[in-house]
Symmetry: C2
Subunit: 225 residues, 2 copies
DNA sequence: CGTCTCCTTGAAGGCGATCAAGTTCAGTGG
DNA sequence: CCACTGAACTTGATCGCCTTCAAGGAGACG
């Protein structure tokens, strides 16, 4: 059960039992505090059990760029495995809980469970793909398309978790959405207002209700030619 | 020697010998042709031995986004490991040669060379970081800063390969640079002209000579506060 | 009830896109 | 050798999207 949240992978059942040993350690992160900071030693990756987090880069000048919003079942911290140093900050958007997957322990365990490496590899590949999708969004979509695509993506991931795909609460601020999408908070706010005015969705603060998903997909501009 | 190009990792010498077995297969890719296309079966990743390639995503509407320019020593195709299907196109910018690293063979070999998994993991983490840097560039830099940062990055990677960091030939067109940086080819051209006018660099077609690296770093806006 | 944070909305301006000619250069064939 | 051709690049003029600046509104919490 834990392992299905932390490494939802499709492994043999008896392997999953061994895996449970690996990921028995958990950490609670209160809203607004950090799971790790840039520069921290990175000896593990973290599977999100509950809540949600953001990861953000910070350059020498203090400029921040959010690179992801992570939901339960997703893995955080894989970008730190290069030099065993975290290169980003991971901050909880709400009270959250993660399980700790120590890399050295995983390496030992995977001598008995060879597929384990494949699974982590797939998760890292997924992270690469996720980031490439964001690049595509930032590089070639206009503001309206970016926000629409963002909402659709969020909707789908929430649906996978068993939540409603049409009604949900944004855990992040307009400013955070804007930063993530390469827009200003004002632009995000205006777009929400416009989408609501056009009857595509209802929005009240952070409560979102997608009314017309087909039109939203059209706005995203990625469902046809 | 081959392995140092294909997996430049810092492994024990006797391990490297075994690794040579793994990566004995090579492929030559003529300029303009593809190493792989979107949808191809992905059973391997590829280490670039010589030349250079670009990777590009393509959405349902045919919209293209270049996600990377790859140089010798770098690995291509790691984004296809999620579903064993390529999710991008890899196209040679010049006549190039890659070595093939079959994933299943690598898994077998790494039972004898445990560090091998770590190395691939580090390379994948590096790819995640690379993509995140691009997100940062697209999300929070202005056109001038993006192109400056792009040139500095290219310069550093060429220096690592033993080439001059101040004089080199761009293997990609203005349009490709623009696509990669989320700009139009006209904007890229104008920026090159402006940089040259301001004495930061000389440019003649694709031949670049960086004259004033400190100023270029200032333009990139990432070297100080 | 005041204060603070987050959000909304308006007005003005700038940066990069778009449209439109020219220019350079490598390759081709007369 | 040189004109022809087409692709890649440069440069200019105009336009529009998004940012910036500014002010006001909505909740949350002491």
């Amino acid at each position: 059960m834990l392992s299905e949240i932390c490494l939802p992978l499709g492994m043999a059942r008896h392997d999953v039992a061994k895996l449970d040993e690996l990921i028995k350690e958990r950490i609670r992160i209160p809203k607004g505090s950090a799971l790790f900071h840039l520069g921290d030693k990175a000896e593990a990756v973290f599977g999100i059990r509950s809540g949600s987090l953001k990861t953000q880069l910070e350059d020498a000048g203090g400029q921040v760029q959010i690179t992801g919003f992570l939901l339960p079942g997703e893995i955080i911290g894989m970008d730190g495995l290069l030099e065993n140093r975290q290169v980003s900050h991971a901050i909880a958007l709400e009270d959250s809980e993660v399980c700790v997957i120590r890399i050295d322990e995983m390496d030992q365990l995977s001598q008995h469970i060879p597929v384990l490496h494949q699974q982590l590899r797939r998760l890292m590949s997924k992270e690469i793909n996720r980031s490439h999708q964001l690049v595509m969004s930032l590089g070639s979509l206009r503001s309206e398309q970016r926000l629409a695509a963002f909402l659709i993506n969020l909707s789908q991931r929430l649906a996978t978790l068993g939540y409603s795909s049409s009604e949900f609460v944004l855990r992040m601020s307009r400013e955070e959405i804007g930063n993530y999408l390469g827009l200003t908070l004002e632009t995000v706010s205006r777009l929400f207002s416009r989408f609501a005015r056009e009857g595509v969705l209802h929005i009240q603060q952070r409560q979102v209700h997608i009314v017309d998903m087909p039109t939203l997909r059209t706005l995203a501009g990625t469902d046809c030619g």
